[in-house]
């Protein structure tokens, strides 16, 4: 009997180390922000030069605007976003009991709009939905990402982790092939970031527009010649759950700038 528990503990430690081997150690985690040029960082930091702030302002207007058959504004239910929305985006995706699955921030905003305001749904990637998402997420700027430890999220998060590790597309690459194993190297002219979802929705110079995390993930999938998951697909929300868990504790940046 004696010695056995030690052997088991050792085994557990070795297994844990093996499981974490490919992950980026906490001390080495870097937001995409830290891999950008000083000029782009300055552009992100300065609210007057950050083009994402236009959408945040748009979102603020939409927040105040009564709409739908119910004739209520977001502000009508939630009041001052600076208080009521502080930290919210840092905790999403969250479990939606009625749906029986996780919902992302844009999904929740859409849901409020159709069910509470009784208004037309806002399509994914529409300017209005991006603006509202950016406005709400901006209320978490600087706060640490804080994924809920709701056990109902766990199986979805685990599936996201598995998707992240699975090679896809004609190029047969996993998210992890680039973002865990090769971050900091260059793919053509672009530095490969660690894929932290800290800044979304964000303004991408290449898009010349604000875009969502889902748009980014679909781009990466298309790049490896895979069929991208549809906007709003459960898989994209599972991936987001995993990315948020990987980035736990990192500061929210919305609206970030990326090249």
């Amino acid at each position: 009997m004696r010695g056995r528990p030690w052997a088991l503990l050792l085994l557990a430690a070795v297994l844990a180390a093996a499981a974490a081997a490919a992950d980026i150690p906490e001390a080495d985690r870097r937001s995409g922000y830290e891999l950008m040029s000083p000029e782009l960082r300055a552009m992100q930091d300065d609210e007057l030069s950050n083009p994402g702030m236009f959408s945040v302002l748009d979102g603020e207007r939409l927040w105040q605007e009564p709409g739908g058959a119910a004739g209520t504004a977001c502000a009508g239910c939630h009041g001052d976003a600076e208080e009521s929305m502080r930290g919210v985006a840092a905790r999403y995706p969250a479990f939606d009991a009625a749906l029986g699955r996780p919902i992302d921030l844009a999904g929740r905003i859409s849901q409020c709009r159709t069910e509470r305001q009784e208004a037309e749904p806002l399509p994914r990637e529409s300017e209005a939905l991006l603006a509202l998402s950016a406005f709400v997420a901006h209320q978490s700027r600087g706060l640490p990402i804080d994924p809920p430890d709701d056990p109902r999220l766990q199986p979805f998060r685990a599936r996201g982790a598995e998707l992240y590790q699975t090679p896809i597309g004609q190029l047969d690459l996993a998210c992890a092939s680039c973002h865990d194993d090769n971050w900091g190297r260059r793919l053509g002219g672009s530095t490969i970031p660690q894929a932290h979802p800290t800044g979304y929705p964000l303004y991408r110079l290449e898009w010349q527009a604000l875009g969502s995390l889902q748009r980014r993930l679909r781009n990466c999938m298309i790049g490896v010649r895979a069929t991208p998951f549809d906007f709003g697909a459960p898989e994209l929300i599972e991936l987001e759950l995993h990315l948020m868990a990987r980035a736990a504790g990192m500061a929210m940046e919305t609206p970030a700038i990326r090249p």
């Binding site: 896809i168 004609q170 047969d172 190297r185 790049g223 010649r225 090249p259």
Partner: protein, 149 residues
Amino acid sequence: MKVLGLGAAMIGLAVIPASVQEAPVPFRIVGDAIPASLTGSPGDPARGAVLIGERHKSLCVLCHAGPWPDPHLQGTLGPDLSGVGARLDAGQIRLRIVDPKHLDPATIMPAYYRLPEPGRNVAEAFAGRTILSAAEIEDLVAHLASLKD
């Protein structure tokens, strides 16, 4: 279609369907090389030099630097291919393009002449095709084998 790219470097990967439709021809691996040409004849190094630069088709320069134009747009995911023809012979280069996973199953370099395993969710435009054709690979081999320094 610009918005569909993976980033400046990979814009357009998805919009140019692979030119390859033929099923891969059989080939024989000897040691760490495929000694015989896939087409039975030598490739054209000039065509290979052009193909290397076609970043949305061959993709080579997304990962590799080498003696080609626009070094700032060349990637650093793989080794610099300058002088590769002095390090490796044509047969060794051929296997490293056809199926680098034969030498290292964990490599990130795609196998250019092997169909993906099932379940890879390959986009329709590329499904059932190898990334490059046998003739294109022979052109690349001829070009790379000529890079002696």
